[in-house]
């Protein structure tokens, strides 16, 4: 009986370890890695667009300065 319990616990522990490996492994739980890492693409595109938006705003403000100098 003791042997059986020992074996059972060992198996349970072993399966826990393998599960743990599958769950954590190198995978550091973050949302950005879920769904085939599509969130990474979203983040990249959002960054590109925010960058372009800031660029447009900077052109706008430069133009405003030039327009003020004219009048």
């Amino acid at each position: 009986m003791k042997k059986f319990l020992f074996a059972f616990c060992f198996l349970l522990l072993a399966s826990c370890i393998t599960f743990a490996q599958e769950a954590d492994g190198v995978e550091m739980a973050t949302a950005l890695r879920s769904s085939g890492k599509i969130y990474v693409v979203v983040a990249v595109l959002a960054t590109v667009f925010i960058g372009l938006a800031f660029y447009l705003f900077s052109i706008d403000s430069r133009l405003k300065k030039i327009e003020k100098q004219q009048h």
């Binding site: 959002a46 447009l56 133009l63 327009e67």
Partner: protein, 218 residues
């Protein structure tokens, strides 16, 4: 138009369409697969183009009425930006078509008409640049522009409907069919269109203001 709020709104709408366009659920269709999400990015290019060309058309009429030179400048710059968005529409469409229709250019009626419409507007720019005298240039190009707009509308919205087309909503289908687009796409698609129209309008105002400064310096 010099206010900031609508520029921020433009950024928010497009940013929302980029995030939601990738992450929101879409209908699963054969052949299209995930590329159905392109509708949030490819179609707004055309909406932006049409709106900018409409602005160009209106300001050309205004110029012919009142003869204010600034109206002529707005007409040119909005046509410029419209053409840029049209080229983006053609390119994004070609990429999408390559993976769904099998080739980048399948001589689809809407593809051909869109290309012709762009050529019509490029001819407008060539015509404009071929004249030095300002008033003559303004008037002749404005008259051309007033004719170009209805031709573009016919090319994009009438002729493709009269034959079979690979584009949805064409080939004998009635216009503005409410069943043409899955309902779950709409909350992203409409903001995307409005956002890109506002962005194109913003670029147009920037180009117009630059051109006005150049005009003052000359």
């Amino acid at each position: 138009m010099n206010k900031t709020w609508w520029k921020i709104l433009a950024i928010i709408l497009v940013l929302f369409s980029i995030i939601a366009g990738f992450l929101f659920p879409v209908p699963a269709k054969p052949i299209l697969n995930e590329s159905i999400r392109n509708i949030h990015f490819h179609v707004p290019m055309w909406f932006a183009m049409i709106m900018m060309l409409l602005v160009s058309f209106i300001y050309s009429i205004k110029y012919l009425n009142k003869g204010n030179e600034n109206d002529d400048l707005i007409a040119v710059e909005s046509a410029n930006v419209g053409i840029v968005f049209g080229i983006l529409g053609l390119l994004t469409g070609a990429v999408w078509a390559n993976y769904t229709w099998g080739e980048p250019w399948s001589n689809d009626p809407k593809q051909n008409s869109a290309a012709i419409a762009l050529l019509v507007y490029m001819a407008y720019l060539v015509l404009r640049n071929s004249m030095d005298e300002e008033q003559k240039r303004g008037k002749i190009s404005a008259v051309y522009n007033v004719f170009a707009f209805p031709i573009m509308i016919v090319l994009l919205f009438v002729l493709p409907r009269m034959t079979d087309s690979l584009h949805p909503g064409n080939g004998g289908n009635p216009g503005f069919n409410t069943k043409d687009m899955a309902p779950e796409l709409r909350p992203v698609f409409y903001p995307a269109c409005l956002g890109w129209i506002l962005v194109s309008g913003w670029i147009t105002t920037l180009r117009y203001r630059i051109r006005k400064q150049e005009n003052l310096n000359n």
